[in-house]
């Protein structure tokens, strides 16, 4: 090993790492401290002598209470959750089948199809939201959860397909062949032998897809209009800013609560998430 002097370890390692940690996490701390700070303290002049921005001696839950009572926040949370789960399921289903086909079957046009799915992977939602809004209206899906449930898979399926295709390629072909010699059909071998082995890959793709749909904003902003239909990010944006007035306490309370579900899912499945993340860019 390369031996290192203690001061060097401090200068090159501990100090930069600490700066990274503080820089990364400070906005979340700020979100939290704002959400429990009473309004009187929140809007105190920044030159006031008794200004203590980093802590508060009078923590309050009034912002959380107002958020629950004065807005439809719980409904937004449910909408976001429902839409994220259903669109993830649809994307996993499609991605699993397509990934299997592209990763393990030989058929004409396999290369072209694989490439076109990869290209759609790189199409950003902001390129298509205006024509999509028209299509959603033509299909009579405007202002329904289905507008999002059907459009989120456009950016989730390519990702799931890509990730699972890579995963299927690493599973030895012999496994399937053994099953087929024992009398399983091609379809049966796929469902009973290959899919169960791919469960870690499916989980990675699912977790990643869930966080992506929880994060989505522009489609939800354009396709939904009534307050009780909105998702958390859109609801917070459009209902907690009235004119020029920002309700910062409630905004931060909402941001915090809106982040909790996705942070929880993430913390339970960190390793799967990281696999999904690193797999999402692997060829």
């Amino acid at each position: 090993m390369v031996v290192e002097r203690p001061w060097k370890r401090w200068v090159y390692f501990y100090i930069p790492l600490t700066v990274f940690v503080i820089g990364t996490l400070f906005p979340f701390y700020w979100m939290f401290i704002t959400s429990i700070r009473p309004d009187a303290e929140l809007y105190r002049s920044w030159r006031a002598v008794n200004n203590t921005p980093f802590w508060t001696l009078h923590p309050t839950i009034e912002h959380f209470r107002d958020l629950m009572a004065k807005t439809t926040f719980p409904i937004w949370l449910w909408n976001t959750f429902f839409i994220a789960v259903v669109s993830t399921m649809i994307s996993l289903f499609c991605g699993l089948l397509a990934g299997y086909a592209l990763g393990r079957l030989r058929f004409p046009m396999a290369g072209t199809l694989g490439t076109s799915i990869f290209v759609t992977y790189l199409v950003p939602p902001t390129l298509l939201f205006i024509p999509l809004a028209n299509i959603i209206r033509d299909f009579q899906l405007g202002n329904t959860p289905w507008a999002l449930i059907l459009t989120y898979p456009t950016f989730l399926i390519p990702f799931c397909t890509w990730l699972l295709m890579g995963y299927f390629k690493t599973i030895p072909k012999e496994l399937e062949e053994c099953a087929r010699i024992d009398g399983a059909t091609r379809f049966g071998a796929m469902v009973r032998i290959i899919f169960p082995i791919a469960i870690p890959g499916i989980l990675s793709a699912g977790i990643f897809a869930f966080t992506l749909s929880w994060n989505e904003f522009i489609y939800a902003l354009v396709f939904l209009s009534s307050p009780e239909r909105k998702t958390v990010p859109v609801g917070i944006y459009s209902e907690l800013i009235r004119g020029d007035i920002y309700f910062w306490g409630q905004l931060m309370a909402g941001a915090l609560l809106g982040s909790v579900p996705v942070a929880l899912v993430y913390s339970f499945f960190v390793e799967y998430y990281v696999t999904g993340l690193t797999g999402s860019v692997k060829g």
Partner: protein, 322 residues
């Protein structure tokens, strides 16, 4: 690991043909159809192709048509040729948005790459609590952008900015910095927030790349007298270049087409000075209702995206060829 399996596959497949056919009852036509690889593939790909066709290919074609028409909300419109593109090109707000998009993408990507690489190198060492630190570093990437951008907006607040307070108390400034109330500052604030959000993605994927590098190489280099910087430049960087390229491509696409960060942080203001192509397309296409012009503005993103995707595909081909 993968090579011998792939090499062995044709032989195994040949064997399969010689085998007596499995005991599938011939009375089920569906089972027999599914034995054909082509038909099974068609069936498996159908849902994906249908969904992507309906919600990507069709909107794309429609977007091109819209951009060539003067459609607006409640008015079907007719063909106007390249009028919308020409109009946008001569519009000073569009020119600002166009320039901003490049500045924003360029600097945010550079910062994310440099800081992400640095963080990856730090996280690649062994220390106590490494898993916890690594997991918490990804938080900005997990938390919905809109929600964390609100926290930043509050930190940049013109009256109650904690950053101003901090800089003032530590003596770096004597008057407040107009973080979001000045166009130039506003764009740089957006670059900072984008860097903050995207850096973990770089760090974690680069870290995964770093972990595949054999430590013996570093050992050998340091025995040869290479210092830390030279070890990075001559050993780590060349091995990390492929994964770096892919990460940069993904990040460039996302940054170039970014919408939510600017929409929440500055809303394109003050005085339309911080728009990106996507936010300006939204303002014209959705907020104002000029669908044709909005579609044209967002299609201005296409050439850049096209070049990036093309580079990526060429690179993937080369990898497969090797």
């Amino acid at each position: 690991m993968k090579k011998p399996i792939a090499g062995g596959a044709p032989g195994v497949a040949g064997l399969e043909v010689a085998l007596p056919h499995p005991r599938t009852s011939p009375s089920k036509p569906l089972t027999r159809v599914l034995e054909s690889e082509t038909l099974l593939a068609a069936l498996l790909l159908a849902p994906t192709v249908l969904l992507l066709g309906a919600f990507i290919a069709y909107p794309f074609v429609m977007g091109v048509w819209l951009s060539l028409s003067n459609t607006s909300v409640g008015n079907l419109g007719h063909f106007v040729g390249l009028h919308n593109f020409a109009k946008a090109w001569n519009d000073s707000i569009f020119q600002t948005a166009f320039r901003n998009t490049f500045v924003y993408t360029f600097w945010a990507t550079i910062f994310k790459l440099v800081l992400g690489m640095w963080l990856a190198l730090l996280l690649n060492r062994s220390f106590r609590g490494k898993r916890l630190v690594r997991a918490s570093m990804l938080l900005p990437f997990i938390i919905p952008t809109v929600l964390s951008t609100f926290a930043w907006r509050w930190m940049f607040d013109p009256t109650f900015s904690v950053l101003n307070w901090l800089l003032y108390r530590t003596g770096f400034i004597v008057t407040k910095i107009p973080f979001l109330s000045d166009g130039v500052y506003g764009l740089w604030c957006a670059i900072v927030v984008n860097t903050w959000r995207g850096m973990p993605f770089f760090a974690i994927t680069l870290l995964a790349g770093l972990q595949t590098i054999n430590p013996d190489l570093h050992e050998a280099a340091s025995l040869d007298g290479a210092n830390g910087w030279r070890r990075f430049w001559h050993v780590t960087w060349p091995l990390l270049k492929p994964v770096t390229l892919v990460v940069v491509v993904f990040s460039v696409i996302q940054t170039f087409s970014d919408f939510q960060l600017i929409y929440v942080l500055t809303g394109g203001g003050p005085a339309n000075s911080t728009h990106l192509l996507a936010t300006y397309a939204y303002q014209i296409g959705v907020a104002t209702g000029l669908l044709g012009e909005g579609a044209a503005i967002s299609l201005f993103m296409l050439p850049v995206l096209f070049v990036v995707v093309w580079l990526q595909l060429r690179y993937l081909r080369r990898l497969e060829g090797a």
